[in-house]
Symmetry: D4
């Protein structure tokens, strides 16, 4: 795509529609808008096929608002804000129509997306404490147009709880396995199914869980094939990737 | 599937085709063959849709041979052996028709697979030293029926080398980014494309690369979305997962 | 046990007492109750021979209450809640008859257990600061029907304090050694007795104790035989395991 | 016991059977024999109820021989040598009647032990490569008078392989779960049974397994209760502890 | 310089202008002023060519004030205070003319410096959250007499944002690359330019970023040449070193 | 000493002055007083030649008071309390005559000690922020009867500050080098003097200082001989050990 | 520069000298030559102002030869090969005129460079064992046209050895401080001079030096300003960066 | 001392005995001899009161010989060489009269030292495998004029072995506690005695001993006072420091 634009640009220059300096300028300045503290990437939506996402952590309420506003003005239909604290949600909510979920700390601005995924995404957790991360994944995926099935508290210490949901697991297009502590959920699921499994280690645990390191290592060392891993507590990353895999047919058809 | 078999079994018991003790026995014993030192999982091929894989590291030449032989006898058409050293390759090659590649340390027994993937898989490396891991990924994917494009030595220290291959990257169904040292390749690729990127950290490097930890952490912390990570040097895992994603349409159609 | 139930189920299907679909359904759904955020495992009590345990950390007061309530309704006689903060204790205490101990943060609902262990369990600590973890172990064991002897502040820097309690140590069926800092208590006790020693590293200490890592490594490297280790600060795990060992005769007799 | 001996000693002094200086001397010198480079602990056999064990690593063939010889001379019926390399086995075998197993690197001198354990010990491994550590555990337990059942290659990536052996697991008195990589075996077994589970992480794996750290952390963070952990590759420690638990009735009866 | 002073001193002694004991005393006591809790190094300004710097962290408001005051009294024209919290800024501001910037937590006392650097310094950040560290670097450099160009939020996940500023990068005398998470910014910039690049890892990120370790390792392993690294979040150090490099001509001419 | 007491005890038994059971009892119970949560070691004062020390961290104000009170009652002339927070100081101060220093968090009860050390102890710090740890060391040493010289803020970044105090360093009997960050102070001092140097790493620093790990490793790897290290921030340990070395003549003369 | 080339290209297209598709092609393919296993970056020499460098580790003798040969053919006057083992040196030396130094493992092909640096570079080491890394730095710098002064074995344990070379240190344009173990050399030098100091931690040491981590952390935490750090044992990186700083005037003048 | 020399020098300059330039030269060049690869510190013997020591690791046989030879020529009576491999011992032994011990890898050239220490040094080890490190400590101490008592294999798993040597421990002037694995020996000894204890962690162990880290952390966290720690396997450092403490009276008398 970008390659094509470059060729287009060259073509315009060749045909005299655009002069050289302007073309160079265009190449340099066009793709993003500079707010000083942030450079908004209006091309990315096209290039990467999704709504623009704002990572809320470390940004002030006002910064989040100004980025979201600039996106809306450029015609962005949907804006997803992750790691958004309550204070930011209140501030942004006063200026823009924001839907906010406290458990996953996800904010959403815009039209409800059409569920146009190729199949279903299953989000499973080892325990109850993993739910906030799982919800970040699930809601991200839903925002990006996916149908999500939640299987919470199906950890391996009672493997029959998981086996009781074989049907849902078997039918999934992608599975997101969210677990802290020993993180064995990803391996056991990975051994049962034949779809891609995205493992999300969580910082749930204490002592030698070292803030999620134990689950992370477990998942990286999974003896089951078809499992890949994202950062500790990175529900968004898992939901985003799952959506990408779940829209793979649609994308290639277009 | 397994669920269905269980229901079938129950049906046979209900209809009197099978008696109770035998059913229990069947449930317990059928799915794998016990060689004493290894339990071969003849169900997995069906359940996971792929050729059986033997992880060669830590197994004696004779153990590898006996497992492979047992698989062949059960009708397995293709057997993939990873992390196979030369000694094992020679031993197994004396008894079975083995194709062996020294760079990737991959052995293959059986019929050449049909390239039936939905699209193409790109395997890119940061440097020349990452090639053995990349080849493990590439050959695994090829063995599982995928068309693979290799882009080697396109690391970020000369970002134009990568940009020169935008076409191949843009058309890929899945990209495997293999890099050691600072592992930035995955992030830069992840920022350019809209398909899933599987990052493989390698143990290439010295000093503070800590045997691949530096690249691993880099990739887990990638600021680009759509990137997930497998274990250090786990070319097989990346190739296997890429194949799964690249067969996702085919699988659901069947 | 579960195996037996499966065979029973198969028998019922064979005899026509149960039809096939229901049997499959039963296999899938029966063992746990789904509260949405948690799946209560009513089988586990039978299968593992103990009262159900609720891990309180990361659960809201209401979640704890609802899980406990569901257990009581299913006929569970005793419910143990660990890592329960004061807020939860107050909330649950308003609805159910709860006994709560602030030091160990343990809550207990139900009838006082009969002390039916095979012998006595000794819980020893290196220092005064290790007492909360030790109490979690001791009260867990008591709740599960064990007689517990407490030997607190007998650390190795004054080895005669420990030697002064040789009698109690010698007579124990199991010993739980709780220590932070250098964690040498487990080794010294392990060298004196001939019963199993369960070592619990604690996060007590500062600087190079790294939140319990120092004690954990010490205990894992114990030069005394018969010592095994649980997670840092995992008093519950040690108490539970000690109880299991202390009921081993009873269980096999039944 | 030692306490009793001390009282006996005091009694002899009180009755005039022994004079004071000799008593002090006896207290000081009696319990071990000094070979210069090693102090053999002839009391330990009595005090800890087992054959004396020689840890072979870091000892020269001659040192091992001299320690074993001194034990035999003092009347020790059985001597177990762990981590014994082939060179040592050949040297010791020239002087004493040694049984040596290469896989587990265990040497044994003396009479075959009577299988006098209270029940059976199951030793399970995740994969084929874990067998050397498992054999160290199994043979240690056998040497100490236990009946051992081996379940090798039953890792969680194919959870049905494990479920196929529910009978053996259910009937075990103690289970030793040996696994490298993600070490999930201990959790899954721990969730199925109600006997003590001793987890042995192995150094099997590569990359982010960090020589067994991944499995170690996994096992320490096991969400299943009743699981405790020994050092990486410490098959001996697991076998020894399992034997202790499996002789607990016998011991208390004596 | 110091060497020269020593020779001067020796000369004075030789010529009788100074006697021996006084010379020894002078050597010992002269170079710093002792406030009890701090020894102010009045020589350093001369020896190292810069304004004295006070590292504010871990110092009380009063301590900072007293050190700054003593410097002013000795004739120091400019005092830079880093890691200064608001409380200290208020306290010091009541007694001395202080300029304070909250984002970078930098305080400045004295005359505005002349911009006498040889060229320009570019300060680039990967994201918005890295700005406080970048501002510490930028303001330090400005205080030391440098012209600074800020390029914020040009991280590698959208490499075109960076490429859009090639002109500024190409013309820089030194570049400071500030990034958290995967820290790839330094490598990509290092591959584009031919001036020294100072990489500053930041503690921005979560999970496996481990408080900046991920970015630190990434930068140390940079495959681009010409990159060196300072401590995590050490904006001051980067700004100081950049200034030193940017005054290198001036210094040698003097 | 203890050995002697045992012989005395045996003598009394032999002579009939004491009967056997009482002797055993005495051996077991005498050396410490049991407060339930703490076992006070009244022998230690004699055995180790110092005032009893209470480690205040992790103890409640009441626990500290009760331990101190019990010591006073047994005739202890001086009690030193380390890591004592203000709350505890106020509580204990209401019941006993306590001297409390906020910087070092040290409390002292009892008579001022006589300065009876063999020589002088120098306590040096790298920076101003290291002073609290240094004061813990200095006051501990003073409490134990030592003359202490403080050399604060003499870090190696201005090596002349240190060289200006060569006299004091040369005359010291023991030197305590307290430093955070890169901890080079210990090496530089160690290279200048010929007395024992006790290095105390502090948690002063940020980023890659990892809470004192950087200084700790630096000090352990010191290329200067005669340097040993205590735990991070362990001022007490350094002061105590320095006092022991500084009383070594006195002790042997007695 | 690259920006300028792009504008030139656009100009040629505008003037009709080049057509659009060829321009796009040129942009994509021109900058590097593809050997299959390596992409040689012929632009980099121009863009980065230095001879091309081949990192020899992990490359076969033949690969090194073929890369070097391709460079020579494209007109590269000087080729520097780092981490070159003896085997590679012999192989390459048979085909090309190679100068090889065994201590630094550096190979050089081409004309002797003119010493055109702005000043002198000092390379200092803490000990004798650091010399190989120091030589890699020194020879890299010399190859890039710098005058280098070597100060070896001037570690801080004998600070007067360093002070004896104050003249050379004071006159240096850049200093490279190479040290293992506690790595304090960089801080002490950094405190004495006012030029940039590049710190190179080495893997020299044992035990808690952890292969260079101790020195690395020390250097990152240096309390002296003006110090930056490269990877452990990265002599090349330090030499390259030092050369860049030492040619900064020359470069800006051109 | 050095301070005194400086004053002497100044006096000579003042009196005209020496002129200024020569004095400056003398200050700079006199204290060490430059062999190119090493700077021998002939002042250190005087300044630090001991024989010069050569650290053999990382030095070639010839380098060791040349340093030792230069020392002998300058009149050094005794030279101690640590970490000396056999090859070096043979080479040096051909040219100089060398005594070499293979276990401790210590070489010694010169006259037998007089045992002039104030008391005795005890060197204790936890096990047999710790002996090489212990011997490095013991022989270093003997070479420096100390009487050494060896207590080997007295680890805490059999605490009575240690208690049997209370007499020797009680009478020691300094104790060196050498232990690997869990390193508890230092704490137990530290709790029994009132002299300084120098703890030496060893790399003996496997798995979670992490090459001595476990013992190192244990020792740093020792709950016994009076314990300090040196680097892993640093027998020399412990022996050297012990000697320093054991000569403290002698030194101050002179």
């Amino acid at each position: 795509m970008e390659q094509k634009e470059m060729i287009d640009l060259l073509r315009q220059v060749a045909s005299g529609t655009m002069d050289v300096e302007q073309a160079a300028l265009k190449l340099k300045e066009e793709p993003f808008e500079d707010l000083g503290f942030a450079k908004i990437d209006h091309h990315r939506a096209m290039r990467q096929g999704v709504a623009e996402v704002i990572y809320g952590e470390g940004k002030t309420p006002e910064q989040i608002f100004r980025i979201a506003e600039a996106m809306k003005e450029k015609g962005q239909k949907a804006v997803l804000i992750t790691r958004m604290n309550k204070e930011s949600a209140i501030y942004v909510g006063e200026h823009l129509e924001l839907q906010y979920d406290e458990v996953s700390r996800i904010g959403f601005i815009g039209e409800a997306p059409i569920k146009d995924g190729d199949g279903k995404i299953v989000v499973a957790t080892g325990g109850t404490s993993d739910i906030p991360v799982a919800e970040e994944a699930a809601r991200t995926a839903e925002t990006l147009g996916n149908e999500v099935i939640r299987l919470y508290d199906v950890g391996v210490a009672g493997v029959h709880r998981l086996l009781g949901h074989l049907d849902e697991l078997m039918e999934a297009r992608v599975i997101i396995a969210v677990a802290g502590m020993e993180g064995a959920l990803a391996s056991v699921i990975g051994g049962l199914v034949d779809c891609p499994v995205i493992a999300v280690p969580t910082s749930v645990g204490y002592g030698a869980s070292f803030g999620g390191v134990s689950a992370l290592l477990s998942m990286l060392n999974s003896c089951a094939s078809g499992v890949s891993v994202v950062n500790i507590d990175n529900g968004f990353g898992a939901g985003f990737l799952a959506s990408r895999i779940n829209h793979i047919e649609r994308r290639t058809k277009e």
